[in-house]
Amino acid sequence: MKFQKITLLIIFLLLSFVGFSQQKEVTIKVNKVSDNVYMLVDKVEILPFPLAKMVCL
């Protein structure tokens, strides 16, 4: 099975040392680095104040 060959590799960009607040929305994208290695990339979007919501689910 294709997925048996997958090794997941996680790293995150942008967020380091930034922390979280109610003004930030985080999305995570999967990037393929090689056949067996994937990288998770996070993207932080600053939301306008009235629409701010918690990142914590």
Binding site: I11, L13, I28
Partner: protein, 243 residues
């Protein structure tokens, strides 16, 4: 899985992983103890992952850590968040037709750094011993040193080749040529600071001397939380400590 970000992101991380596999996470490797690399440990352990790290990661996570420069205390992690398998020098994993070599580099970003090399895929994850395109954060409070940081990169360079894909702890995928340029930059700055120290300059004088990092400041390496000023101070303190 390598590193797991802050705890609130765990559900999104798991959802992202499910887009490539339904299989559970068997092993989680922490490249060092900082919260943006270990914050999801407790959640991942509950998901069934076995956490692996250098022995100093477990030691530091077991007790509160005070960062003098940032005047910030990180509380001890709960037992469920601690690595359950630790190593002192290196450890290897063998699965998915891949040999994965995990090795410790001494007193670099912290005193518990590990790099992870996927030998078949020819991919090296360097954790925070490489900040692609930006000056490095070297945590002197956690046993890191500028000398060890440079040595760690040189060790990585011995292992890789021109085709290796390098994943830094932050920012973009990189390669050997870029890493060589990066370590050259650090060695140049180190030499500049050493010359100042040998000339009897104080920490304040070195920290304020913009010429020591100007070449790379102009290339925007200091355009984030580690500015040229912060880096000059870090080099000064680390080199003085090492005397």
């Amino acid at each position: 899985m390598i590193d797991d970000q802050f705890a609130p992101l765990t559900p999104k991380i798991l959802a992202a992983i499910k887009t490539v596999t339904e299989k559970p996470i068997k092993f989680l490797i922490n490249t060092h103890w900082h919260g943006d690399h270990t914050g999801g440990n407790e959640n991942m352990q509950k998901e069934g992952a076995v956490i692996v790290a250098h022995e100093n990661v477990r030691k530091r996570m077991s007790v509160a850590q005070f960062n003098k420069e940032r005047n910030r205390t990180t509380p001890a992690s709960p037992k469920e968040a601690l690595p359950v398998i630790t190593f002192s020098k290196d450890v290897s994993f063998h699965f998915n037709d891949e040999d994965i070599f995990i090795f410790h580099v001494h007193e670099a970003h912290t005193d518990g750094d590990a790099m992870v090399y996927f030998t078949k895929s020819n991919v090296l994850h360097m954790g925070d011993t490489y900040f692609q395109g930006k000056y490095p954060y070297i945590d002197l409070n956690s046993g890191g040193s500028t000398q060890g940081y440079i040595a760690a990169i040189k060790k990585a360079l011995l292992l890789i080749n021109d085709d290796t894909k390098i994943i830094p702890g932050h920012r973009n995928v990189s390669d050997k040529a870029a890493l060589e340029t990066y370590v050259k930059m650090l060695e140049e700055i180190e030499a500049n600071v050493i010359a100042e120290i040998n000339a009897g300059k104080s920490e304040k004088e070195v920290t304020e001397n913009t010429s020591l990092t100007k070449k790379y400041d102009d290339l925007n390496f200091g355009d984030w939380f580690i500015s040229g000023k912060v880096l000059r101070k870090t080099f000064y303190r680390s080199l003085q400590k090492g005397k």
